[in-house]
């Protein structure tokens, strides 16, 4: 499972896309806060559209998958390239998760309407890792964005 992903992880996440202390306190604002990270990094062309798409996806079923993790995601033409933004909230945010517990780790995944399979496979790989307890714990314990990058690079 660890087939030389290291290099490629940098392609869709970097330290600028990591926010260690999310300020939001509810679901809608955290999505907005994360989308703004994407906007600042020029990953997306239309902030409102991306927020709308993300909320639409949530309406179909929460992406708060439990165990303190939420992975809102958007597939849209307003996305320039596949990217992941990572945010952490130590306090926890009520995200309407499946296990009804607050979420601490947030991955906002954005992909263009037409994406290369390799990118999607990388994202799939990231998703797979979120299932592992030690992976999540190390993300919760990481004290800096550099450390988070290091963990992600080693998946």
């Amino acid at each position: 499972m660890k087939w030389g992903i290291k290099m490629e992880v940098n392609e869709f996440i970097n330290q600028n896309l990591i926010k260690m202390n999310l300020k939001s306190e509810d679901k809608e604002s955290v999505i907005k806060e994360m989308v703004e990270i994407m906007e600042e990094n020029e990953i997306i062309t239309d902030k409102e559209e991306v927020i709308k798409k993300a909320m639409e996806r949530e309406a179909k079923g929460t992406t708060g998958v439990g165990k303190g993790v939420a992975i809102p995601h958007v597939k849209s033409d307003a996305v320039k390239r596949p990217a992941v933004a990572f945010g952490r909230s130590d306090k926890g945010i009520d995200y309407g998760s499946m296990d009804e517990k607050p979420s601490h780790l947030f991955f906002l995944i954005t992909v263009p309407e037409k994406s290369h399979d390799e990118h999607l496979q990388l994202l799939a790989q990231l998703s797979r890792n979120l299932v592992h307890d030690d992976f999540r714990e190390s993300l919760l314990e990481a004290e800096s964005a550099e450390k988070v990058m290091e963990i992600l690079e080693n998946i």
Binding site: V65, D99, L120, L123, Q125, V131, H132
Partner: protein
């Protein structure tokens, strides 16, 4: 060691599908259960389950928020949950599946013929491209007009075959609705929506105008098809090649495109294309009307075989479009042959799978029951699952049966005024002429199909 196979799938197919897959694999590892998970995500199907995998599995887990087909898991223990359940507690899910397997609770997967057929139709629709797609778009928009027109005309005959000539009578009103309105719109709608399929909205006006001209100069549906394609491609070309200055661009869709494209297509239809097509069309009409029995039988044979050949594919649709188009010229014989021949493939297969059980798999026998219904509803696609399993024997059988039905229907001089509906339109008075003989033609084709299948299909080993 126990073996479980699973399928995971979620609406976007980016995250949950894979998390669920990983959870299941992890949990299975801990529980010492062999696990193979097929993921149906945005990358497509990965780690696809083989028939072997499914055969060996003690249980099947489907963790999906999308519609995952059950077809291939017939006779297996199935646990079906939302994708989230597999992410949250895969272990419990595996236990549940194994317990269910121990109790031997096989989920009876109804062989879902209807589902398979609509999947197949959808697949075909999405594969359609180019001129064929455009033509089918036109035909599908035209059909409601044909239905409304054909049935209204049929109803007007209830009052006697010449009743509509009595001005002010209800029969005349029905004829006015069906004949001079609905049928009159057929060709313009056909042409308009062929052009729409090619050039989007700007295609509709020139297409309909071209179709109207085809109609009025007697070039019929053939002229309409040509007008539709010409209008579509010409409009598309104009759209791409006319460059107006920025501040005049607003005039393109409201003035320039509709006027220019309609002018070009109109002049072409009147001076260049209309006359020869009118010749062909009136030749065709008079040939069809004055056909000898031998020619009628031959035409019925060909149309019938075409209907069965690809069961709703392009060849079938070519024959069908021909029949529907002729309704506009008030020629009803080919339509009758075509509908009858489109009904016999599922009917013949249903009959054969009922009578000759040792030549069909259990699944096919199960699928035979809904095939009856598809047959009487004129859904030729109902034969596809059988044909897909054994094309070399099934397709010649159904083609023979359909050819016989088509030929008989033409020979008996049956006419049909509705373009669809199977037996459900037949009770409406005057929709079909010679109803008794029509039924005979359909029954004969059904029997021939079944007999052919009996002869060609070998006995299956138990």
């Amino acid at each position: 060691m126990k073996k479980i196979v699973a399928v995971t799938s979620c609406p976007t197919g980016i995250a949950h599908t894979y998390m669920a897959s990983e959870s299941l694999e992890e949990a299975a590892k801990k529980m010492d259960v062999q696990m193979k998970v097929e993921t149906q995500g945005s990358v497509g199907v990965e780690n696809e389950l083989t028939e072997q995998d499914i055969k060996e599995a003690d249980a099947v887990i489907i963790a999906a928020d999308t519609n995952v087909s059950h077809e291939r898991f017939g006779g297996k223990v199935i646990v079906e949950v939302a994708v989230a359940d597999a992410i949250n507690d895969a272990g419990a899910l595996i236990n549940q599946a194994l317990e269910k397997a121990d109790r031997g609770e096989k989920t009876e997967v109804k062989s879902n013929l209807k589902g398979q057929v609509s999947d197949e139709k959808e697949k075909r629709r999405s594969k359609r491209s180019g001129p064929y797609k455009h033509l089918m778009t036109g035909v599908s928009f035209m059909l409601p007009f044909v239905v409304a027109g054909g049935l209204s005309i049929a109803l007007s005959f209830v009052f006697g075959i010449n009743a509509a000539e009595q001005e002010g009578s209800l029969a005349a009103a029905l004829m006015q609705i069906g004949g001079s309105s609905a049928f009159a719109l057929m060709v313009p709608i056909l042409a308009g929506y062929i052009a729409f399929s090619i050039a989007d909205r700007p295609g509709i006006a020139p297409g309909m105008i071209g179709g109207m001209l085809a109609s009025s100069i007697g070039a019929g549906f053939l002229g309409g098809i040509i007008a539709g394609f010409l209008a579509g491609y010409i409009t598309q070309w104009l759209k791409e090649h006319i460059k107006l200055p920025e501040n005049l661009q607003g005039l393109m869709p409201v003035l320039v495109l509709p006027f220019l494209s309609s002018l070009i297509i109109g002049l072409l239809m009147i001076y260049l294309i209309g006359p020869p097509v009118e010749g062909i069309m009136s030749g065709l009409e008079s040939w069809l009307q004055g056909m000898t029995d031998a020619n009628a039988v031959l035409l019925g044979l060909i149309l019938g075989a075409m209907m069965a050949f690809d069961m709703g594919g392009p060849v079938n649709k070519a024959a069908y479009t021909f029949g529907v188009g002729l309704l506009g010229s008030e020629i009803y014989g080919p339509m009758a042959a075509i509908m009858a021949a489109g009904m016999t493939p599922p009917l013949g297969l249903a009959l054969a799978s009922t009578l000759f059980k040792n030549r069909f798999t259990r699944q096919e026998i199960e699928a035979g029951k809904p095939a009856w219904f598809m047959g009487i509803s004129f859904i030729t696609e109902g034969a596809i699952p059988f044909a897909a399993a054994d094309p070399i024997r099934v397709i010649p059988s159904i083609m023979t049966g359909s050819a016989v039905t088509g030929a008989l229907s033409m020979l008996f001089g049956v006419g049909l005024k509705a373009p669809h509906g199977g037996i459900f339109v037949l009770p409406i008075p005057n929709v079909v002429t010679n109803l008794g003989f029509y039924a005979l033609a359909i029954i004969a084709g059904t029997l021939v199909t079944a007999i052919m299948l009996r002869l060609l299909k070998p006995k299956l080993a138990e």
